[in-house]
Amino acid sequence: MSEPISALKMAGFDGLARVEDCGLQGMITLRGDLSARAVKSAVTAATGLTGPKQPGPLQIVSGKSGSAAWMSPDEMLLLCPYGETGSVLAAMQEKLAKVHALAVDVSDARVQLQVAGPSAREVMAKLCPLDLSPENFQPGTIRRTRMAQIPAALWMVDEATFRVICFRSVADYAFNLLKTAAHPESGVGYF
C-alpha cells in the first residue's frame, strides 16, 4: 500500500516565526442545516462535541475526537486524524441518512500550515486584511479570508500559534509567502 504524502512534504522555515507544514490532516466538509438534530449528531459523531458545544459563527471548537469549525451558515469543516477520515465520514453518513445534507472528504484538497512564535500575529497581518490584534483575534476564532492572493482559513491554537489552511495546489505559494513575511529582519512591532 502506497503512503499518502502531503503537498509540502513537511517543509519548515525559521524566521520571525516558525513556518511549517502540519502534514496530512483529516478534513470533512459538512453542508446542511446546522441547527438540525441529525446534522448536530453527525458533528458529535465526528468530533465528540455535543450540540451546545458546537461552534457558532466564526468559531472553532475542539472535541475529544476532533475539531469543528464554522465555515458559513450552512457549512462546517470537521478536523480529524487523516487515517480516520473514512470511518468518521461513514459514522456521519449514518446520522445524515434521512436529511438533506452533504458530507465529503476534502483532506487531500488542502494543505495545513502552522505559523508559530511571538511574532506570528505580525507575520499573518502582513498578508491578511483583517484585524489580528489580541483584542480582536483570539484562539477559538476562525476566519476565512484572503492571504495575499489566495483564499485561506486561519485560527489560533494558542496565543502565539496560527494554523492556516489553503488549497493544495497553491501550497508552495503559501509556504513561500509565509517565509517571505517571516523574514527575520522584518519585524513590525505593532501588536
Binding site: 459563527p57 466564526l58 465555515m71 458559513s72 451558515p73 457549512e75 486584511p129 483583517l130 476566519r143 476565512r144 479570508t145 484572503r146 483564499p151
Partner: protein, 109 residues
C-alpha cells in the same frame, strides 16, 4: 476601499475579500417572456448617481451572496442584508428615505 458587513458571518469585510455582482433585485425572465422584459432583465440597469441596491459575494470568506444598499456618489452604506429576498428590508428603506428625501427606485419607493 469599501468595507461591507457580511450579514451571514457578521464580518466587516475588506473590499478585497468581496466580489461585486451588479444590481440586485432583478426579476428573472425566462422562456416565454417578451423581448423587452428579457432585454431589461439582462442589460438595463438603474445605474443611479445615488443609492444603489447591489449584490456582493463574500468570496474570500463564507462564500455567501448578500445585498448592499450603497450610495454611488458618497459610498455611504445604508445596510447589507441576505440575498434571499426580493426587496430590501423595511428598516434599510427607512434609513434611505430619511437621509435622501424624494429618493426613488424602480418598484419600491
Amino acid at each position: 476601499m469599501l468595507i461591507l458587513r457580511c450579514p451571514y458571518c457578521g464580518v466587516d469585510a475588506d473590499e478585497t475579500e468581496l466580489a461585486p455582482g451588479g444590481e440586485a433585485h432583478l426579476k428573472r425572465f425566462g422562456p416565454g417572456s417578451g423581448d423587452d422584459d428579457f432585454h431589461d432583465y439582462l442589460f438595463t440597469r438603474e445605474n443611479p448617481r445615488g443609492v444603489h441596491f447591489e449584490r456582493w459575494r463574500h468570496a474570500h470568506g463564507c462564500g455567501k451572496w448578500f445585498h448592499a444598499a450603497r450610495a454611488t456618489d458618497t459610498l455611504q452604506v445604508f445596510g447589507t442584508y441576505p440575498a434571499q429576498t426580493s426587496e430590501p428590508p423595511k428598516e434599510v428603506l427607512a434609513l434611505i428615505r430619511a437621509a435622501r428625501p424624494g429618493w426613488s427606485w424602480r418598484e419600491f419607493a
